[in-house]
Symmetry: C2
Amino acid sequence: MTDRRYYTITELTAEFAITTRTLRFYEDENLLNPERQGRKRLYTPRDRTRLKLILRGKRLGFSLAEVREIIEMYDHAPGEKGQLQRLQDRINERTAELEQKQRDILETLEELKQVNDKVQLRLDELDK
Amino acid sequence: MTDRRYYTITELTAEFAITTRTLRFYEDENLLNPERQGRKRLYTPRDRTRLKLILRGKRLGFSLAEVREIIEMYDHAPGEKGQLQRLQDRINERTAELEQKQRDILETLEELKQVNDKVQLRLDELDK
DNA sequence: AATTTAGTTGACGTTTACGTAAAATGCGTA
DNA sequence: TACGCATTTTACGTAAACGTCAACTAAATT
Protein backbone atom coordinates (compact mmCIF):
# COMPACT_ATOMS: atom_id res chain seq x y z
CA MET A 1 0.00 0.00 0.00
CA THR A 2 2.35 2.73 -1.22
CA ASP A 3 0.38 5.90 -0.50
CA ARG A 4 -2.18 5.90 -3.29
CA ARG A 5 -2.86 9.57 -3.48
CA TYR A 6 -2.72 11.94 -6.38
CA TYR A 7 -1.92 15.60 -6.62
CA THR A 8 -3.56 17.99 -9.04
CA ILE A 9 -1.45 20.43 -10.95
CA THR A 10 -2.65 23.37 -8.90
CA GLU A 11 -1.94 21.63 -5.64
CA LEU A 12 1.66 21.29 -6.67
CA THR A 13 1.94 24.85 -7.93
CA ALA A 14 0.60 26.02 -4.59
CA GLU A 15 2.83 23.81 -2.48
CA PHE A 16 6.04 24.66 -4.31
CA ALA A 17 5.29 28.15 -5.56
CA ILE A 18 5.80 27.33 -9.21
CA THR A 19 3.57 27.74 -12.26
CA THR A 20 1.68 25.19 -14.30
CA ARG A 21 3.93 26.10 -17.18
CA THR A 22 6.90 24.92 -15.19
CA LEU A 23 5.28 21.59 -14.39
CA ARG A 24 4.32 20.99 -18.00
CA PHE A 25 7.77 21.99 -19.09
CA TYR A 26 9.34 19.46 -16.74
CA GLU A 27 7.01 16.87 -18.17
CA ASP A 28 8.07 17.75 -21.72
CA GLU A 29 11.61 17.25 -20.52
CA ASN A 30 10.67 13.83 -19.17
CA LEU A 31 11.53 14.80 -15.65
CA LEU A 32 7.98 14.11 -14.55
CA ASN A 33 5.33 11.85 -16.01
CA PRO A 34 2.00 12.24 -14.28
CA GLU A 35 -0.83 9.86 -15.06
CA ARG A 36 -3.99 11.06 -16.77
CA GLN A 37 -7.63 11.08 -15.87
CA GLY A 38 -9.03 11.99 -19.25
CA ARG A 39 -6.81 14.90 -20.20
CA LYS A 40 -6.10 16.06 -16.72
CA ARG A 41 -2.77 15.37 -15.11
CA LEU A 42 -2.61 13.41 -11.90
CA TYR A 43 0.71 13.62 -10.17
CA THR A 44 1.78 10.66 -8.09
CA PRO A 45 3.78 10.81 -4.86
CA ARG A 46 6.72 9.73 -7.01
CA ASP A 47 6.26 12.76 -9.26
CA ARG A 48 6.12 14.94 -6.21
CA THR A 49 9.32 13.48 -4.88
CA ARG A 50 11.06 14.00 -8.19
CA LEU A 51 9.78 17.55 -8.28
CA LYS A 52 11.37 18.16 -4.91
CA LEU A 53 14.63 16.80 -6.23
CA ILE A 54 14.41 19.07 -9.26
CA LEU A 55 13.76 22.18 -7.22
CA ARG A 56 16.50 21.35 -4.77
CA GLY A 57 18.90 20.84 -7.65
CA LYS A 58 17.90 24.18 -9.11
CA ARG A 59 18.50 25.92 -5.82
CA LEU A 60 22.01 24.55 -5.94
CA GLY A 61 22.57 25.98 -9.39
CA PHE A 62 22.35 22.78 -11.37
CA SER A 63 20.87 22.95 -14.86
CA LEU A 64 17.93 20.73 -15.64
CA ALA A 65 20.27 18.48 -17.62
CA GLU A 66 22.42 18.05 -14.53
CA VAL A 67 19.41 17.52 -12.35
CA ARG A 68 18.29 14.83 -14.73
CA GLU A 69 21.66 13.12 -14.43
CA ILE A 70 21.51 13.19 -10.67
CA ILE A 71 17.98 11.83 -10.57
CA GLU A 72 18.95 9.08 -12.99
CA MET A 73 21.60 8.00 -10.52
CA TYR A 74 18.92 7.51 -7.90
CA ASP A 75 16.88 5.07 -9.94
CA HIS A 76 19.60 3.41 -11.93
CA ALA A 77 19.10 -0.11 -13.31
CA PRO A 78 20.96 -3.03 -11.71
CA GLY A 79 23.58 -3.24 -14.47
CA GLU A 80 26.85 -5.10 -14.83
CA LYS A 81 30.26 -4.28 -13.48
CA GLY A 82 31.43 -1.62 -15.97
CA GLN A 83 28.11 0.17 -15.65
CA LEU A 84 28.27 0.17 -11.89
CA GLN A 85 31.80 1.50 -11.87
CA ARG A 86 30.96 4.32 -14.22
CA LEU A 87 28.03 5.13 -12.01
CA GLN A 88 30.39 5.38 -9.07
CA ASP A 89 32.64 7.66 -11.08
CA ARG A 90 29.76 9.99 -11.77
CA ILE A 91 28.73 9.92 -8.15
CA ASN A 92 32.24 10.87 -7.15
CA GLU A 93 32.25 13.77 -9.60
CA ARG A 94 29.00 15.15 -8.29
CA THR A 95 30.19 14.65 -4.75
CA ALA A 96 33.32 16.66 -5.46
CA GLU A 97 31.24 19.42 -7.00
CA LEU A 98 28.99 19.55 -4.00
CA GLU A 99 31.94 19.69 -1.65
CA GLN A 100 33.31 22.61 -3.66
CA LYS A 101 29.98 24.34 -3.27
CA GLN A 102 30.14 23.71 0.45
CA ARG A 103 33.49 25.44 0.65
CA ASP A 104 32.17 28.30 -1.46
CA ILE A 105 29.26 28.71 0.88
CA LEU A 106 31.39 28.68 4.00
CA GLU A 107 33.66 31.35 2.55
CA THR A 108 30.74 33.52 1.55
CA LEU A 109 29.03 33.13 4.90
CA GLU A 110 32.23 34.11 6.63
CA GLU A 111 32.62 37.22 4.50
CA LEU A 112 29.03 38.26 4.97
CA LYS A 113 29.45 37.85 8.69
CA GLN A 114 32.47 40.10 8.66
CA VAL A 115 30.61 42.78 6.76
CA ASN A 116 27.73 42.44 9.15
CA ASP A 117 30.01 42.85 12.15
CA LYS A 118 31.53 46.00 10.70
CA VAL A 119 28.11 47.42 10.00
CA GLN A 120 27.04 46.60 13.52
CA LEU A 121 30.02 48.47 14.90
CA ARG A 122 29.01 51.52 12.93
CA LEU A 123 25.45 51.26 14.17
CA ASP A 124 26.64 50.99 17.75
CA GLU A 125 28.78 54.07 17.14
CA LEU A 126 25.76 56.00 15.85
CA ASP A 127 23.56 54.97 18.74
CA LYS A 128 26.04 55.96 21.36
CA MET B 1 52.41 49.16 -1.55
CA THR B 2 49.30 47.26 -2.50
CA ASP B 3 50.58 44.73 -5.04
CA ARG B 4 51.01 46.87 -8.15
CA ARG B 5 50.70 44.16 -10.73
CA TYR B 6 48.47 43.87 -13.70
CA TYR B 7 46.94 40.88 -15.41
CA THR B 8 46.37 40.60 -19.12
CA ILE B 9 43.11 39.26 -20.41
CA THR B 10 44.66 35.96 -21.48
CA GLU B 11 46.31 35.46 -18.13
CA LEU B 12 42.92 35.60 -16.50
CA THR B 13 41.25 33.37 -19.05
CA ALA B 14 43.99 30.80 -18.45
CA GLU B 15 43.88 31.00 -14.68
CA PHE B 16 40.12 30.73 -14.40
CA ALA B 17 39.27 28.73 -17.50
CA ILE B 18 36.94 31.32 -18.96
CA THR B 19 36.87 33.09 -22.32
CA THR B 20 37.73 36.66 -23.22
CA ARG B 21 34.11 37.07 -24.20
CA THR B 22 33.14 36.36 -20.64
CA LEU B 23 35.55 38.93 -19.24
CA ARG B 24 34.36 41.58 -21.66
CA PHE B 25 30.79 40.71 -20.87
CA TYR B 26 31.41 41.16 -17.17
CA GLU B 27 32.96 44.50 -17.95
CA ASP B 28 29.90 45.54 -19.96
CA GLU B 29 27.89 44.61 -16.91
CA ASN B 30 30.09 46.82 -14.77
CA LEU B 31 31.25 43.92 -12.67
CA LEU B 32 34.84 44.56 -13.67
CA ASN B 33 36.54 47.71 -14.84
CA PRO B 34 40.09 47.11 -15.93
CA GLU B 35 42.38 49.99 -16.72
CA ARG B 36 43.64 50.59 -20.25
CA GLN B 37 47.05 50.78 -21.81
CA GLY B 38 46.05 52.17 -25.15
CA ARG B 39 43.16 49.95 -26.06
CA LYS B 40 44.35 46.94 -24.18
CA ARG B 41 42.78 45.94 -20.91
CA LEU B 42 44.90 45.73 -17.80
CA TYR B 43 43.21 43.94 -14.95
CA THR B 44 44.16 44.97 -11.45
CA PRO B 45 44.39 42.70 -8.43
CA ARG B 46 41.05 44.17 -7.45
CA ASP B 47 39.52 43.05 -10.73
CA ARG B 48 40.95 39.62 -10.17
CA THR B 49 39.45 39.45 -6.70
CA ARG B 50 36.08 40.52 -7.99
CA LEU B 51 36.32 37.95 -10.74
CA LYS B 52 36.87 35.29 -8.12
CA LEU B 53 33.81 36.47 -6.28
CA ILE B 54 31.78 36.37 -9.49
CA LEU B 55 32.84 32.84 -10.35
CA ARG B 56 32.25 31.62 -6.86
CA GLY B 57 28.79 33.15 -6.91
CA LYS B 58 28.06 31.47 -10.22
CA ARG B 59 29.14 28.11 -8.85
CA LEU B 60 26.56 28.60 -6.14
CA GLY B 61 23.85 29.23 -8.70
CA PHE B 62 23.53 32.97 -8.23
CA SER B 63 22.66 35.06 -11.26
CA LEU B 64 25.00 37.88 -12.20
CA ALA B 65 22.45 40.32 -10.81
CA GLU B 66 22.61 38.55 -7.47
CA VAL B 67 26.37 38.35 -7.61
CA ARG B 68 26.43 42.08 -8.20
CA GLU B 69 24.28 42.61 -5.14
CA ILE B 70 26.56 40.52 -3.01
CA ILE B 71 29.68 42.26 -4.23
CA GLU B 72 28.08 45.62 -3.60
CA MET B 73 27.62 44.60 0.02
CA TYR B 74 31.33 44.07 0.32
CA ASP B 75 32.27 47.57 -0.75
CA HIS B 76 29.31 49.49 0.57
CA ALA B 77 29.62 53.16 1.40
CA PRO B 78 29.66 54.28 5.04
CA GLY B 79 26.03 55.47 4.99
CA GLU B 80 23.62 56.52 7.70
CA LYS B 81 21.50 54.45 10.03
CA GLY B 82 18.63 53.45 7.74
CA GLN B 83 21.07 52.47 5.03
CA LEU B 84 23.11 50.36 7.37
CA GLN B 85 20.05 48.58 8.69
CA ARG B 86 18.79 47.79 5.23
CA LEU B 87 22.21 46.47 4.42
CA GLN B 88 21.99 44.16 7.40
CA ASP B 89 18.59 43.01 6.23
CA ARG B 90 20.01 42.07 2.87
CA ILE B 91 22.93 40.31 4.48
CA ASN B 92 20.52 38.31 6.58
CA GLU B 93 18.51 37.32 3.53
CA ARG B 94 21.55 36.11 1.66
CA THR B 95 22.75 34.31 4.74
CA ALA B 96 19.45 32.47 5.01
CA GLU B 97 19.66 31.50 1.35
CA LEU B 98 23.14 30.17 1.79
CA GLU B 99 22.11 28.17 4.81
CA GLN B 100 19.29 26.65 2.77
CA LYS B 101 21.81 25.70 0.13
CA GLN B 102 23.94 24.11 2.82
CA ARG B 103 21.05 21.94 3.89
CA ASP B 104 20.31 21.06 0.28
CA ILE B 105 23.91 20.01 -0.21
CA LEU B 106 24.01 17.89 2.90
CA GLU B 107 20.86 16.08 1.84
CA THR B 108 22.16 15.46 -1.64
CA LEU B 109 25.52 14.26 -0.38
CA GLU B 110 23.80 11.87 1.95
CA GLU B 111 21.65 10.47 -0.83
CA LEU B 112 24.57 10.09 -3.19
CA LYS B 113 26.46 8.27 -0.48
CA GLN B 114 23.60 5.85 -0.01
CA VAL B 115 23.46 5.12 -3.72
CA ASN B 116 27.20 4.65 -3.75
CA ASP B 117 27.04 2.20 -0.87
CA LYS B 118 24.38 0.16 -2.62
CA VAL B 119 26.41 0.08 -5.80
CA GLN B 120 29.45 -0.98 -3.84
CA LEU B 121 27.51 -3.87 -2.33
CA ARG B 122 26.58 -5.05 -5.78
CA LEU B 123 30.16 -4.79 -6.94
CA ASP B 124 31.35 -6.79 -3.95
CA GLU B 125 28.69 -9.37 -4.81
CA LEU B 126 29.96 -9.61 -8.39
CA ASP B 127 33.58 -9.93 -7.33
CA LYS B 128 32.92 -12.70 -4.87
C1' DA C 1 58.82 44.77 -45.01
C1' DA C 2 55.86 41.04 -44.17
C1' DT C 3 53.75 38.26 -41.01
C1' DT C 4 52.41 36.34 -36.87
C1' DT C 5 50.38 37.18 -32.27
C1' DA C 6 47.39 39.24 -28.92
C1' DG C 7 43.93 42.16 -28.48
C1' DT C 8 39.98 45.17 -29.91
C1' DT C 9 34.98 46.49 -31.20
C1' DG C 10 30.64 45.47 -33.16
C1' DA C 11 26.83 42.57 -33.90
C1' DC C 12 24.06 38.70 -34.75
C1' DG C 13 23.31 33.78 -32.94
C1' DT C 14 22.32 30.23 -29.36
C1' DT C 15 20.83 27.68 -25.27
C1' DT C 16 18.22 27.31 -21.09
C1' DA C 17 14.10 27.77 -18.66
C1' DC C 18 10.45 29.13 -18.65
C1' DG C 19 6.48 33.47 -19.73
C1' DT C 20 2.50 34.61 -22.12
C1' DA C 21 -1.37 34.75 -24.88
C1' DA C 22 -4.95 32.12 -27.83
C1' DA C 23 -8.29 28.83 -28.50
C1' DA C 24 -10.48 24.78 -27.03
C1' DT C 25 -12.46 21.32 -23.58
C1' DG C 26 -14.79 19.26 -19.64
C1' DC C 27 -17.30 19.71 -15.35
C1' DG C 28 -19.81 21.31 -11.55
C1' DT C 29 -23.16 24.89 -10.52
C1' DA C 30 -26.68 28.67 -10.85
C1' DT D 1 -28.86 25.61 -20.53
C1' DA D 2 -25.69 28.90 -19.70
C1' DC D 3 -21.85 30.04 -17.08
C1' DG D 4 -17.60 30.09 -14.73
C1' DC D 5 -13.56 27.74 -13.59
C1' DA D 6 -9.77 24.66 -14.02
C1' DT D 7 -7.22 22.61 -17.33
C1' DT D 8 -5.52 21.53 -21.78
C1' DT D 9 -2.58 22.05 -26.26
C1' DT D 10 -0.14 24.96 -29.40
C1' DA D 11 3.02 28.24 -30.26
C1' DC D 12 5.45 32.42 -30.36
C1' DG D 13 8.16 35.49 -27.04
C1' DT D 14 11.84 36.57 -23.69
C1' DA D 15 15.76 37.33 -20.35
C1' DA D 16 20.28 35.77 -19.06
C1' DA D 17 24.81 34.58 -20.24
C1' DC D 18 27.53 34.10 -23.05
C1' DG D 19 29.26 31.91 -28.28
C1' DT D 20 30.80 32.99 -32.65
C1' DC D 21 32.07 35.24 -36.52
C1' DA D 22 33.98 39.51 -39.00
C1' DA D 23 36.83 43.18 -39.62
C1' DC D 24 40.42 45.81 -37.59
C1' DT D 25 44.69 47.39 -35.01
C1' DA D 26 49.02 47.53 -32.59
C1' DA D 27 53.11 45.32 -31.22
C1' DA D 28 56.47 41.84 -31.77
C1' DT D 29 58.90 38.54 -34.59
C1' DT D 30 61.00 36.60 -38.80
